[in-house]
Symmetry: C2
Subunit: 456 residues, 2 copies
């Protein structure tokens, strides 16, 4: 059970640990990038005129334009006088009216209800049910927050504190490669990370035998209670098949692991034969005993996907079959943290314009404009989804030797050279963990600069 | 020193405790108000047609209009296409351009720097220095957050954890009356609340002898480390004089207490002879040893004051002379919680249009339109500032007897009767603590309904 006085302040610790970890490999690159930027501004001549940072999943910072429909609705909500003119499409004005009607006094300036605006959460639930072909979604299980990472951290925190009397510390299975913030979210809670390796040779597939091996490896060291999956992937851009998800659910059921399904890239699927299917949907399809016992938390965000509204700070988690204690605690988590506009953005993401709406044609056109991916010269698994590529780089022994002499990981060395010679800042694979002896790089593909990212 | 693993998750505990406390006196009123609203919607006849809730500091929910300048700038930032027309005043467009220029990719959709947008924090610092007649403000001591309550909680949390090895638990002095969320923020951290009574007879003055008495009363029970003051007041609408502030600073210095100065109502001063002077300014004026030793945290927010943008979730704390450990930890607190628009709103609050700017005349007119306060029949100290009145109600013994029979505090009983008979929802004084045998009510004066709030 919960012991409030002992619950660790996840948010704080997470932040601090995160900052420390960031100081390892990436920080050397970031420092050099700052210097280069300064040198460029002082007129130092280089083979490039500006620095290009494609490390992060931050499309707007890379020049990707926001969705017009989203920004028009939000602007009309901020300044309702805009609705008196007919310059904004009818569906924009109608949506803004609807959203403002759910605010006390009709203003985004009034306090939203502590747990979020009820009508917005109800609509989000309907939209989740629609996404899943009719699988019901209870609005009481949907919890908004200032971002999916926040939701993941507090969910993990509660699961960890549920087990704080166990003799061994809590463990959570995580994929390798995995985003550094996820790893630090977990370790900062005092929980252990139990790595399972995705199979690069098989398109970064998630293999149950490997989950089994990872679980065995944890024996005696920690008490694994949850399995974190990210689909579509980050940094590796795979999309899980229904069959793969079924296998994972069966495994979680058998081993009594809570499934933490990071589905923030659900709207970013490019593979011709790939399709996003949610864990929730597959779970429902599998029927009892799975559908009413396997504990699942699914995360989503307005920062990722095609909206890319990272600055608004909005996300949610849907909880299925979770311990009522956890649900009850999370139901209070949102108090006073998620802005009204972030809640509106969730509504807009999950209820986009439909065919026939005035805003639909433009929205649909931008929505489908996925940049072509061009990566000759690197060994890279096909990118089926997500916002990143994670190609493998094969470095000559001399480069590896040189990296050692300079006290860097070989892939950090590669990134540093790329930065010096081209002004392009990418992230080394060692930030995400990788199989020993392999080297990777990660960069964002949701920008217009792919073609310059060719290895020399 | 800090023991991260032992730092209590303040946010969570705060929320839960807050919700529990709210369930005491106010909840009965809120439940009845919900019923009344339902009855009204079902056509039940009552002496009023709608429910009027003036419990909270939420001006927009009560029909107060947002500031045009603020909303125009934010709308232009959300939807920059608006700037191509000349319908928006020049200073609005210029400000929006400036703000967007501080975002990566020129979009509010990109991630802000972890600790906030540096240029905005620099401007906020300059504005604080201007407010204080030139007393310098170091931007490295200003920390943005999703609200002042958040900042207060984490500051208190850090101060408390700094003392977690002391044999007695930490104590924080708080005024009576005091807002319930402040009390619960403190108690939820495991700290003790040490109440000092404001003197109603002297216009709710803060008297040093009373601080002395309160401190004495804590002896053996807890270890007081901080003194919380709110100026201008809430729920009592006093404004502290410079002399009063000097006395408090001297007291804090002598007793080595950290000053937690809640100054969120600094822009709400109505008293003819009242003027807001910040604790920071008075501290600087007093010179050494005070100015370089007394530890001060000053809180502000876009929710309070004349902007009343509660839905945007933005605030800040400025730290003066604080333990570098605390400053260092707080510097990381904002990670990924405060939206870009909340940061913009802070800039707009602290750098309003100036005389000569196109937006100035309208801005100034609205800014100065303070509602007249009309309160015959109740004993109420003059309201000099803040957003609330806290009049004393004198109840006949029969009413007190009746309240007892119904299991309510006498002032809750009064509020319940007012709700039934007029449809107006206000808060009983017992929610804020009060001297035994006295009864009060609190309601918001930043709305257009004052005249209906006359006692029967």
């Amino acid at each position: 059970m919960f012991h409030l006085a002992l619950v660790v302040c996840s948010i704080w610790v997470k932040i601090l640990t995160f900052l420390n970890i960031k100081q390892l490999e990436y920080a050397a690159l970031a420092r050099r990038a700052t210097q280069i930027q300064k040198e460029l501004s002082q007129g130092v001549r280089k083979p490039y005129k500006e620095l290009t940072d494609v490390c992060w999943g931050d499309p707007h910072s890379l020049g990707v334009k926001p969705l017009t429909f989203v920004r028009q609705v939000l602007a009309a909500c901020v300044y309702p006088e805009l609705m008196s003119s007919h310059k904004l499409p009818l569906d924009v004005r109608q949506r803004a009216q609807w959203l403002l009607g759910k605010c006390e006094g009709g203003s985004i300036g009034s306090y939203p209800a502590s747990a979020g605006i009820p009508e917005i959460i109800q609509r989000m639930s309907k939209s989740i049910a629609r996404r899943d072909g009719g699988v019901p979604c209870n609005p009481e299980n949907v919890f908004i927050s200032p971002g999916s990472q926040w939701s993941l951290t507090v969910t993990s925190l509660l699961l960890t504190s549920l087990n704080d009397e166990a003799p061994l510390r809590t463990g959570i299975l995580i994929p390798v490669p995995c985003h550094v913030t996820t790893i630090t979210s977990i370790t900062s809670l005092g929980a252990a990370v139990v790595p399972y390796f995705l199979s690069e040779e098989h398109g970064w597939a998630l293999q149950v035998e490997e989950l089994q091996r990872a679980l065995e490896s944890a024996k005696g060291g920690c008490n694994p209670i949850a399995l974190y999956v990210i689909n579509p992937g980050n940094p590796a851009g795979y999309v899980q098949s229904r069959k793969s998800i079924q296998e994972v659910i069966r495994f979680a059921s058998e081993k009594r692991l809570v499934l933490l399904a990071d589905e923030v890239y659900q709207d970013c699927v490019y593979g011709k034969n790939s399709e996003f299917v949610s864990y929730k949907k597959v779970l429902a399809e599998m029927g009892p005993p799975f559908s009413d016992t396997v504990e699942l938390a699914s995360f989503h965000s307005v920062s990722k996907g095609f909206m890319g509204e990272c600055g608004l700070r909005g996300g949610y988690v849907e909880l299925v079959n979770l311990d009522p204690n956890v649900v009850n605690y999370i139901s209070n988590l949102n108090y006073d943290t998620t802005s009204v506009l972030a809640q509106f953005a969730l509504d807009l993401m999950m209820n986009p314009p439909r065919p026939g709406d005035p805003s639909y044609p433009l929205y649909n056109q931008v929505r489908n404009a996925v940049n072509a991916i061009c990566l000759p010269g690197l060994s890279c698994q096909p990118v089926e989804g997500g916002a990143f590529v994670f190609p493998r780089v094969f470095l000559p022994p001399r480069a590896i030797q040189k990296a050692k002499e300079e006290g860097m990981q070989p892939d950090t060395f590669y990134c540093m050279r790329l930065l010096e010679e081209t002004g392009v800042l990418i992230t080394p694979g060692c930030e995400y963990r990788q199989k020993e002896g392999t080297y990777h790089i990660r960069y964002n593909i949701k920008n217009k600069l792919n073609s310059i990212l060719l290895p020399h």
